[in-house]
């Protein structure tokens, strides 16, 4: 659908601009850039969380399943491909073909840029969880483009 494309183009432009803004080319600057992207995603996730059709969640796992199915379909037109948990508040969400990574899936040489393309979505997940009542830490990792994993740690209040 055409409006999906608009978001993907906007996201790519944001990664290119906000992701490279910090004058410090070292790890400190990188961290700040990723933090800006993550923060933007967080704001959007919070707002989106209020707009998603809600269900009553019997337990924490149901919330994560909701993210993997409903949020992912609404935002990326596909479900998450895998969900694992240690049943102690840590979850790993696996997407084998993450749409925001596909444009740069040209092989391992671009792996070091991958975190920039995932930061917004990490924030999106964190923001949605916050609206649903959960504090969390969301990080990501990429082994082979365009597959990626999102690690969600639910923080006990």
């Amino acid at each position: 659908m055409a409006d999906v494309v608009l978001f993907e183009f906007l996201h790519a432009e944001m990664v290119a601009e906000l992701g490279a803004r910090d004058p410090d080319p070292g790890p400190g600057g990188q961290k700040r850039s990723l933090s800006v992207l993550e923060g933007t995603g967080f704001r959007v996730g919070q707002a989106l969380g209020e707009r998603l059709p809600r269900e009553t969640f019997r337990e924490e796992l149901d919330v994560l399943k909701f993210l993997c199915r409903d949020l992912w379909v609404a935002v990326f037109q596909k479900q998450m491909d895998g969900l694992c948990t240690n049943h102690q508040g840590t979850y790993v969400l696996q997407d084998n073909s993450f749409p925001l990574l596909i444009p740069m899936a040209l092989g391992l040489q671009y792996l070091e840029d991958a975190p920039k393309f995932l930061a917004f979505t990490c924030g999106l997940l964190r923001g949605t969880l916050r609206t649903l009542g959960f504090q969390s830490l969301v990080t990501s990792s990429v082994a082979t483009l365009p597959a990626c994993k999102f690690q969600v740690e639910i923080r006990k209040s």
């Binding site: 494309v5 608009l6 707002a47 059709p53 379909v73």
Partner: protein, 181 residues
């Protein structure tokens, strides 16, 4: 996943909301980074330009528009096909001069400002939707048309309508267009 998520109609709205919300968050971030409205406007235009240069390919692939023979036709396509396709609105087109190279798009509805009631305090010169101008300019440049695109009126600034002005800068070379296939 045990239960398949059916494609519910509300998801379509969420998709639209996603772009609008992301855009809002982007403008907020730029306002944090740049003190002057002109700088934010310039940056939005620049980002829009980057998007436009790539969006045009997507547009041409989806729309299969034929050859255009006038600036008027091109502007109509921008308003009636492109805006409709990507933003779900159809601005009306006005031609502003007799040489037929200056046009206005009048936006009755503007989905980008759906969640914006007014400009932030101290940001009276902010062209909130300036991304759109950059997108149009970038897209036109990729089909070899130079144009100036700016907001002439903005409801967010208190004007009665939102109006985007497109001024085509070079004479449309008909021969050049016929040869392109």
């Amino acid at each position: 996943m045990s239960r398949p998520a059916h494609r519910r109609p509300e998801y379509h709205k969420i998709n639209k909301d996603l772009f609008v919300l992301t855009y809002g968050a982007l403008v907020a971030q730029l306002c944090k980074d740049y003190e002057k409205d002109e700088d934010v406007n310039k940056y939005l235009d620049k980002m829009g330009y980057g998007i436009g240069t790539r969006l045009v390919e997507d547009f041409l692939a989806r729309s299969c528009v034929g050859r255009c023979h006038s600036y008027s036709e091109i502007t109509d396509i921008i308003a009636q096909v492109a805006f409709k396709m990507y933003l779900g609105i159809t601005p009306s087109v006005i031609c502003n001069n007799s040489s037929r190279n200056e046009f206005s798009l009048i936006l009755d509805k503007n989905p980008l400002v759906e969640f914006v009631e007014e400009l932030p305090a101290g940001r009276s010169s902010l062209c909130y939707c300036n991304l759109l101008c950059g997108i149009i300019r970038g897209a036109l440049e990729m089909v070899h048309l130079a144009a100036d695109v700016t907001f002439l009126q903005d409801r967010l600034k208190g004007d009665s309508v939102t109006e985007i002005g497109i001024t085509f800068l070079k004479k449309l070379d008909e021969k050049k267009y016929r040869r392109k296939k």
